[in-house]
Structure formats: structure tokens, C-alpha cells
């Protein structure tokens, strides 16, 4: 039998592969294939869930001590169940939804392949992430979810809104993912391993470990859309509804709190980190809750609700202790069931009525009773009514908060009552009241998943054993200690019950008095959109682009300036080198000047003079002539340096080069070559040119002088070359070097010539050899 962990991974990753292949063959099979494959993955998850914990550990990149290590522990089991289970219902839902969606947008049905491919990749990478034990592996799967979500959010590629939302989500989660990587590397630096279990065992609670873990948690918070990195999530609503349903419940956002749960044994060592989590959690609860109250778009209400709900989870992790950890874990499970159902409700309503906004719908109860019932159960779960699984999530939360004192208890009640208010508003105004838009009949695929999830939420509230079984095992991993959850209904006045009742009352009050506080809430929302982090993001992006534009405006675009910008820094660098190195008197030597040197000096002067003549001549033909005279004088220099071979070659080369140059000049009409008329315009460049030339000359001078001042080292090489020349039947050492000792150079040199010939004839005769 295959290792359960491996089996689950294979089952999960087989899904996107199979679906993509199916899409390549026949795209109409894709939805059914996706249902089948997700179903299989879900079955695998269920089966592996009841198996013992299992591990896979194979070397992945031993050079960097990276291992491909997966462990199917309690935490992994819970999240894998969620990812595949919710994934299954989402795919079921999407199998009909997407065709409608594409049809509305007049797009080809073929695009389904792309959608399901990425949706299943999303699921598979979630499954991989939850089992990964190697920090780098975690990072890889972590970013894989970001990639999948990027393409899913931006699925409606034609719409700018959709593309920029996808970009925002990717930038926020992708850039913060680098923090996860950094944290992993910092931990590696301290503990010499990427294996999380080993790090947890060895962890010393030191400052550096704290920073590293803090970085990882930072990445996790951004992914969970916690304040102040929450702004990408509402924008991600640009995605088709199934994606939103999945992203908010069991993937992406859940991945963030999962990671906190995964590294929680490390987090729990630092009180400051727990306090930070607490603050961020409550802040997210407040911000998400208040803004959710003011939204009009159905999915927006739910999006801000998610921010607030994951705020609970983060806050519970911050509260810590057995209750906090168990509560947080339980909360994720309960929330996933109900939130996905609510999103699918919103999608179904929009598909049926064509309306996206809450004020445009209403009274759908009678037209869509099944949907109303299903989402009603889910909504009840989210607002923690008794007999639903949601009741316990709040109860655990209250219990954990109460332990930490009255302030937190009150805050948690207020937060929970906000949830009640906006969910009440959402559900009641959709399904009760006056019928605003007559819905069209919709496929059962859009309704039944909602109903099943709603029922699951109620069943979970009545028969708590499976949930407790799962959560116990998951929370034990996070807490790094065995945890036993005790949940049951108690009909007494214990503080959890009191707080729950207080929540319902307060929530109802908030809902009923909404006309009074509405402007205030809206004000908060507006304040957020004007001074909040989203604003900062946009301002930052705009600022960066403006900065880029203004820097680009001063970018050098002229070849002359390009030359200058090479010569100047080169000169400055050489100058710097001269300055920083110790200069003894022997560094730069004048050198002896004997009578024998007079001819040589004369020729040098001649060549320099002719070089300056090249500068001053106007006419191009004279330019060519004076240029060749530089070459000829240099040939003379070489002759006096005892180099007849070089002299010969320099002479003939100079002749041919002049012929080339004059030949080219003949090809160009005289007016083209006439620059004299614009000499005046040139004058303003003269000073710059002169300065650059002087700097360049200074550079050449110092390099030449510095090098030449060094007394000659051993002449071993040329001595042996001299000796060997006779042995190979040679007399002229230079020729022998060229053809024999360093014949390889010559071969390269003639290849350069042949290559240039290719270039020249391609430029002049389009490459024909004849």
C-alpha cells in the first residue's frame, strides 16, 4: 500500500493534470472530469484521515539541505479535508456556474479548462502546503497557491478591474511571501535545518528565532487578509464566485491561519508575538465587521466578513492556551463550511436575478426556498445560533477571551454582534421582504452544494463527535501537546452562554437601529478608503510609476552621451583606484631617456601630432588621409621598437583600411557628409567633449604609466620561446609565435576576419559570397 501522505498528494496533483489533459482532448469533458477528480481527492482525504499519521521524507536538494518531507498529521488532515471537501462542492457548483458565466461574457467554453485547471491546482497546492514539513517546501506550495489564485482572480482577463485585482492580490501575498522565505532562511541559519519539527524541538526562544518566526507570521497574516494587509481581499471579489467561495473558506486565506497553526509552537514562545496577534485579530474583527455593515455588493459583504472572521482566528491564536488554540482550529473548520455556502448563495442569487447588489434583491424566499433554507442554515452557523456548528466556535472564543479578563470579553461580544448584524442584513434582505427582481430558474448544481453545506453545519452542531475528533488532532499539532476539546450544550448561566445571549441581543439591536449608526459606519469605511492601506498601495504604485517616468526622462538616449557616460565613470573609477592605493615614489617612474630613443620619440610625436590633425580637419577625405598617417607614423614607432613584422602589417593594414574608408566615403553623397553648416550648434558641446576626453586620457595615462613603471619581471616565457624557435626550424621568433606557439590565437584572429567578411558582405551584398 502506498504511503497515505504520498497517496493524498498524488491524488490532489493528479486532478489538475488530468483536467488539463482532458481539456486538450475535449473541453466539454472538463467539468465532469473535474468533479470526478476532486471527488477522488476528497475520498483520498477521507480515507487517509482515518489512517495513522504518515510521513514521506526524501532528499530533494541535499546540496542545500532541502528535503521533500510531508507529514500527514492531524493539522494536515483537517485542512486537507477542508481543501478537498469544500473543493468538491465548489467544483460541483462551478461545473454549471462557469458555463453560465462564460456565456454571459460571450466567451468561449474552452476557457473552462483554464479555470478548472487552476482551481484544482489551487486545491492541490493547498493539500501539499498542509502536509509540507520542510520550510522551503512550505514556501514553494505557499507561492503555488498565490500563482493559482492570481490566475483565478484574473480569470476575466478582458476586464481591467479583474486584472488589476489579480495583480494586487499577487503583489500583496507574493511580496509578503518573501518574508516567509526570509524567516525560513533565518531559521536555517540558526538551526542548520529546514525541517520544521526539528526546529520546534531545538528552538531556544532566542531573539533571532523570534524575528524569523515573526517574519513567517507576517507573511501568514497578509495571506489571511488581516489588517493592515486586508485590502486585497475585497478586490479579489473580481474573481468568479466559485473562486471566491473557495479562496475565502478553504484555500488562500485559510492557508494564512494554517501557517500560523503550523509554526504555533514557535510563536507561543514569544509573548510579544501573541499580543501582536491579539491586537491584529481584534483590529481585523472591528474593521471587517464595520465595513461589512456598509457594503452593498453581496460578495463584498461576505469578503469583509471573512476579514473579520479570520480576525477571530488570529485573535484566538493570540489568546493562546489550550482554549485559544483549540478554538482557533475549530473556528477555521466551522467557518469554512458556512462561508463557502454563503458565497455560493450570493453567486446563485446573482445568476438567478442578474443583480449583484443587496438593495436590488429581496423576497427570494418564496421563489427559491431551497436556497433560502440552505443559506439560512449556513448563516445561522456563522452567527453562532445553537444547534449549528457555529455555536461552538463562538463559545470557544468567548471562553478563551473571558479567561483573559473583562475587556477582552466585552470586545469579543461586540465583535460577534457585528457579525450577527451584517449576516442578518445579508440574509434577511436577500430572502425576506418585497420581491425586487424576479429570479430565473437556475440549475440545481447552484443550489444543492449550498444546501448540503448548510445541512453539514447543522449536523455538525448536533453530532459533534467528528468535528471534535478532527479538531483534537489538529489542535494538538499546533499546541504541540495533546488537546481534548469538550463541547456540549449547557443550559445554565455559565459566562459563555451569557456572552452568547448578549451577542444576539446586541447584534439584533445593531441591526434594528441601523439607520442611526449608518452614517458613522459609512464614515469609518470612507475614512478607511481615504487613509487606509489600500490608499497607500495605490499611492505607492502611482508614486513608483511617476518616479520611474521621471527617471526615464533623464535617461541618456544619445550615443555621444552614452560614450561619455562610459568614459567618465571609467575614468573616475581608475582615479579612485589611484587614490586609494598607496603611492610610493616607485609606483610611477619617469624612465631613462637615452640618445637611442630620439628616433622613437620623433615618431611618437609625429603620430600624436597626426592624431590631433585628425581632430581638426573638416573634410572627410582629409580625415581619412590624416588617420592613415597616424597609422603610418605608428608603424614607424614599431620599426624603432625592433618590430619589423608589426611594422609591415601596420603599413599594409593602414593602406587597406584607408581604401575601405575612402571607398565608403565615395559611396555617400557630399551633402550627407557636410556638417560645417551646423558647427555653431556643436560649439556648446565642445567643453563637455574636451572634459570627457581629458578624463579618458587621464585614465589611459595612469593605467599605462602605472603598469609600465613596474620593472619588468622574469622574461622566462620569451626566453624559452627564443630557445624553442630554432628547434622548430624558425628564425623569426614573432612569426613562429604566430604560427606555432600561439597559433591558436592566430586561428582565432583569422576567424575574426572571416566573420567580419561575413558581416560586411551581409551588410553590403546581403550575405552572398559570390
Amino acid at each position: 500500500m502506498m504511503n497515505p501522505a504520498m497517496l493524498l498528494l498524488v491524488a490532489a496533483f493528479a486532478a489538475p493534470l488530468v483536467v488539463s489533459l482532458l481539456g486538450a482532448i475535449r473541453h466539454s469533458w472538463v467539468p465532469r472530469g473535474a468533479i470526478l477528480m476532486t471527488g477522488l481527492a476528497f475520498a483520498a482525504a477521507v480515507w487517509t484521515c482515518i489512517q495513522d499519521d504518515a510521513s514521506v521524507n526524501v532528499p530533494w536538494a541535499p546540496t542545500w539541505s532541502m528535503n521533500f518531507s510531508l507529514t500527514l498529521d492531524g493539522l494536515a488532515k483537517m485542512y486537507a479535508l477542508l481543501a478537498t471537501g469544500i473543493g468538491f462542492f465548489v467544483v460541483l457548483y462551478a461545473s454549471k456556474y462557469l458555463a453560465l458565466h462564460l456565456h454571459h461574457d460571450h466567451r468561449l467554453l474552452e476557457e473552462q479548462t483554464r479555470f478548472f485547471g487552476f482551481l484544482l491546482l489551487f486545491m492541490a497546492s493547498m493539500v501539499g502546503l498542509v502536509m509540507a514539513q520542510d520550510l522551503i517546501l512550505i514556501f514553494v506550495f505557499w507561492d503555488l497557491t498565490a500563482i493559482a489564485s492570481y490566475f483565478l482572480i484574473g480569470f476575466d482577463r478582458a476586464e481591467e478591474e479583474s486584472r488589476s485585482s489579480a495583480q494586487m492580490a499577487l503583489l500583496v501575498t507574493g511580496i509578503t511571501a518573501i518574508f516567509v522565505l526570509l524567516g525560513a532562511l533565518a531559521l536555517f541559519q540558526i538551526y542548520g535545518t529546514f525541517a520544521l519539527p526539528e526546529i520546534i524541538i531545538a528552538s531556544n526562544g532566542g531573539r533571532n528565532t523570534g524575528i524569523a518566526v515573526g517574519l513567517i507570521v507576517l507573511g501568514a497574516l497578509a495571506k489571511s487578509a488581516q489588517v493592515p494587509m486586508h485590502f486585497w481581499l475585497p478586490r479579489a471579489m473580481a474573481a468568479p464566485t466559485p473562486v471566491s467561495a473557495y479562496l475565502h473558506s478553504a484555500a488562500m486565506v485559510a492557508a494564512g491561519v494554517f501557517l500560523i497553526g503550523r509554526v504555533y509552537p514557535l510563536v507561543a514562545q514569544y509573548d510579544w508575538m501573541l499580543d501582536a496577534l491579539l491586537v491584529i485579530g481584534f483590529a481585523s474583527m472591528a474593521v471587517g465587521g464595520i465595513i461589512a455593515l456598509t457594503r452593498r455588493v453581496l460578495k463584498q459583504i461576505l469578503a469583509y466578513s471573512t476579514i473579520s472572521q479570520y480576525g477571530y482566528v488570529v485573535a484566538m491564536f493570540g489568546l493562546g492556551g489550550e482554549k485559544g488554540v483549540a478554538g482557533a482550529t475549530f473556528y477555521v473548520l466551522a467557518h469554512a463550511l458556512v462561508k463557502s455556502a454563503l458565497f455560493m448563495t450570493a453567486g446563485a442569487v446573482t445568476e438567478a436575478t442578474g443583480k449583484k447588489n443587496l438593495p436590488d434583491v429581496g423576497g427570494l424566499m418564496r421563489r427559491m426556498p431551497l436556497l433560502a433554507a440552505g443559506s439560512g442554515m449556513a448563516a445561522a452557523g456563522l452567527i453562532a445560533l445553537p444547534l449549528t456548528i457555529g455555536f461552538f466556535k463562538d463559545e470557544l472564543f468567548f471562553a478563551a477571551a473571558y479567561e483573559r479578563g473583562m475587556t477582552l470579553a466585552v470586545m469579543s461580544v461586540v465583535g460577534a454582534s457585528l457579525t450577527l448584524a451584517y449576516i442578518l442584513r445579508f440574509w434577511r434582505q436577500t430572502f425576506m421582504g418585497v420581491l425586487r427582481t424576479e429570479p430565473e430558474p437556475i440549475s440545481g448544481y447552484l443550489v444543492w452544494p449550498v444546501v448540503v453545506l448548510g445541512i453539514a453545519s447543522v449536523v455538525g452542531g448536533l453530532w459533534t463527535v467528528p468535528a471534535i475528533w478532527i479538531v483534537d488532532r489538529a489542535a494538538s499539532v499546533s499546541a504541540d501537546a495533546p488537546i481534548h476539546l469538550h463541547i456540549a450544550y449547557h443550559l445554565d448561566a455559565r459566562h459563555e452562554n451569557v456572552m452568547a445571549i448578549a451577542t444576539w441581543v446586541a447584534g439584533l439591536l445593531i441591526y434594528l437601529t441601523r439607520r442611526i449608526w449608518w452614517p458613522a459606519a459609512l464614515g469609518v469605511a470612507h475614512l478607511g478608503s481615504y487613509f487606509g492601506p489600500a490608499r497607500l498601495y495605490y499611492a505607492g504604485m502611482r508614486g513608483l510609476n511617476q518616479l520611474s517616468d521621471s527617471v526615464h526622462r533623464i535617461e541618456v538616449r544619445d550615443l555621444r552621451s552614452r560614450v561619455a557616460t562610459i568614459l567618465m565613470p571609467a575614468g573616475l573609477l581608475v582615479g579612485l583606484a589611484v587614490i586609494v592605493t598607496p603611492n610610493s615614489t616607485s609606483s610611477f617612474a619617469v624612465g631613462a631617456l637615452g640618445r637611442d630613443d630620439i628616433p622613437l620619440i620623433t615618431m611618437l610625436v609625429a603620430s600624436v601630432v597626426s592624431a590631433f590633425v585628425v581632430i581638426v580637419v573638416r573634410d572627410h577625405f582629409r580625415l581619412a588621409i590624416s588617420l592613415s598617417s597616424v597609422g603610418f607614423s605608428l608603424a614607424g614607432v614599431y620599426a624603432f621598437m625592433g618590430a619589423p613584422d608589426v611594422t609591415l602589417v601596420a603599413l599594409v593594414v593602414e593602406t587597406v583600411l584607408s581604401m575601405f574608408m575612402i571607398g565608403m566615403l565615395v559611396l555617400m553623397p557630399r551633402p550627407i557628409l557636410r556638417f560645417e553648416t551646423e558647427v555653431r550648434a556643436e560649439r556648446r558641446y565642445l567643453r563637455r567633449d574636451a572634459i570627457v576626453a581629458v578624463v579618458a586620457a587621464g585614465m589611459a595615462f595612469f593605467v599605462a604609466w602605472g603598469a609600465l613603471s613596474r620593472p619588468s619581471p622574469s622574461t622566462e616565457v620569451i626566453d624559452s620561446q627564443t630557445v624553442l624557435t630554432a628547434a622548430v626550424h624558425g628564425k623569426d621568433i614573432v612569426t613562429v609565435i604566430l604560427a606555432d606557439f600561439r597559433g591558436f590565437d592566430t586561428l582565432g584572429e583569422v576567424t575574426v576576419i572571416a566573420l567580419t567578411l561575413l558581416g560586411v558582405i551581409s551588410l553590403l551584398r546581403t550575405g552572398r559570397l559570390r
Partner: protein, 147 residues
């Protein structure tokens, strides 16, 4: 002698660098050739010893044959490059009807402008997500939402 040679190299380099800053492509190539000459002169000067031509039989101290071989290779390569550059100038002239760098730069600017359409597609993404609160029918919408 060391100083004198270095000065000659520097002067030749300066002349070349100065020409490379001109707007005339032919002068630019002349500058390249001069800079190449300066480098060749430097190679020659970097010989380990000086003397007569290194041809057997040796009677007196000879010049360094290795740098001569090097300088030969370098001369040939810079010659080849210059020839290629000249052919290129001709094609530049054919395609722009000019060998004036300022014309070429102008053409490059035009190209750059064509590459960067002034569509401010950023503005769209900069819209706030007040999800319709700021819509023109503001008050009505707000009333409806409060409902």
C-alpha cells in the same frame, strides 16, 4: 621613456575619445581607430624588454617577441572591427539618409515615443473600492442600502 610613451598613449587616447563624442559617424569611427591605435601602442610598450628585431641568430638583446605577436593580433582585430563599423555606417546612411548622430537620436526618440503609448491605464486601477458608494446617484443608493 616610460613617461613619454605613457603620454603618447594618453594623447592618442584623448584624440580618439574626443572624436568619439562627435556627431559625425565617420569621425566616431576615426575615434575608434585612434583608440585602438592607442591600445596597440600600449601593448607594444608593455614589452618586457627592448632591443633589436627578434630574428635568429641573436647578436644583441632583442625586443620582446611575444608582445609583437600580441600586437599583430590586436591590429588585425581592430582593423576588422573598423571595417565592419564602416560597412555599418553605410547601412545606417542607406536607412536614415544621414550619418548624423543627432538625426539618429531623433529617430530613436520617435521610436521610444511610439513604444510608450501615453495610455494612462494606471488610473483605472487606481479607482477606490468604495463599491458604488461614491456613485452619481449617491443619496438614492445610500438610502437603498440602509434599507
Amino acid at each position: 621613456m616610460i613617461l613619454a610613451t605613457s603620454l603618447a598613449i594618453a594623447a592618442m587616447f584623448a584624440a580618439g575619445a574626443y572624436l568619439m563624442l562627435k556627431r559625425d559617424l565617420i569621425r566616431l569611427i576615426a575615434g575608434m581607430i585612434l583608440i585602438g591605435n592607442a591600445a596597440n601602442l600600449f601593448i607594444m610598450a608593455s614589452g618586457l624588454r627592448r632591443g633589436a628585431a627578434p630574428i635568429l641568430p641573436l647578436d644583441e638583446p632583442t625586443a620582446d617577441p611575444l608582445v609583437q605577436a600580441m600586437v599583430l593580433t590586436a591590429i588585425v582585430i581592430s582593423f576588422a572591427t573598423a571595417a565592419l563599423a564602416l560597412a555599418l555606417v553605410y547601412r545606417v546612411y542607406i536607412s536614415h539618409y544621414s550619418v548624423d548622430l543627432s538625426r539618429l537620436s531623433a529617430a530613436e526618440e520617435q521610436q521610444a515615443e511610439r513604444d510608450e503609448p501615453m495610455t494612462e491605464d494606471l488610473r483605472e486601477s487606481v479607482r477606490d473600492d468604495t463599491d458604488g458608494e461614491a456613485s452619481p446617484d449617491g443619496r438614492h443608493a445610500r438610502e437603498a442600502a440602509i434599507r
